[in-house]
């Protein structure tokens, strides 16, 4: 069965520190891969996506993600976190139907 695993339910980082959110997927073939962000009470906003080509993809708000086929991973990174990055982050994988991970809540401490 197709699945997406986000191992970390909560992560707390200091403002200005680097960030990495983990995502692993289980899929029959290399799926399309996405990261979304959700602020409290809001819908989901697309941060970035991967479907082919360069394995390091750039997104909005200074985020990037690296696709590693050998590890079935698509980890999200940011070099320097801002307080406004505090939100819940979802990894998703699939074709025309996306499967979402359970989400990682990011807290930023000043």
């Amino acid at each position: 069965a197709q699945s997406v695993t986000q191992p970390d339910i909560h992560i707390t980082v200091s403002e200005g520190a680097s960030l990495e959110l983990r995502c692993n997927y289980s899929y029959g073939a290399t799926p399309y891969l996405f990261w979304y962000v959700q602020s409290p009470g809001q819908g989901l906003q697309l941060l970035l996506k991967y479907f082919s080509g360069d394995t390091l993809v750039q997104g909005i708000k200074g985020f990037e993600a690296e696709f590693k086929r050998s590890q079935s991973s698509f980890n999200l990174r940011k070099p320097s976190v801002h307080w406004s990055d505090a939100a819940e982050y979802f990894c998703a994988a699939g074709g025309n139907k996306l499967v979402f991970g359970a989400g990682t809540i990011l807290r930023v401490k000043s």
Partner: protein, 113 residues
């Protein structure tokens, strides 16, 4: 562009009542989806549609029904509300080429008491 519009934003239902969650998109997207979001569970697919007149079940369809009479609209129907349907519901749409990702509505928070 309004994108994906969901109504209502909040609703409280009594057990056994019925209601329809509305979803409209103005991007001429063929694909539309309904997900429910529960704390710590991520988003689970309820139903989806690949075009007007075509719908199919997702991972958690029990207790729900959908219809797709136009490209723009994809309402979700709850016939006999149960406490287990307390959740946040999101409608989304996408182009045929799904590598563009989804556009999400702002959600409907439903409480069944």
């Amino acid at each position: 562009n309004a994108g994906v519009t969901q109504t209502p934003k909040f609703r409280i239902l009594k057990i056994g009542q019925s209601m329809t969650l509305q979803c409209t998109q103005d991007m001429n997207h063929n694909y539309m989806y309904w997900y429910r979001q529960d704390p710590g569970m991520g988003l689970k697919l309820i139903y989806y549609s690949v075009g007007a007149g075509i719908t199919d079940k997702g991972e958690v369809p029990n207790g729900y029904n959908v219809s797709r009479s136009t490209t723009e609209d994809f309402p979700l129907r709850l016939e006999l509300a149960a406490p287990s349907q307390t959740s946040v519901y999101f409608c989304a749409s996408s182009q045929i080429q799904s590598n563009y990702g989804y556009t999400f509505g702002s959600g409907t928070r439903l409480t069944v008491v």
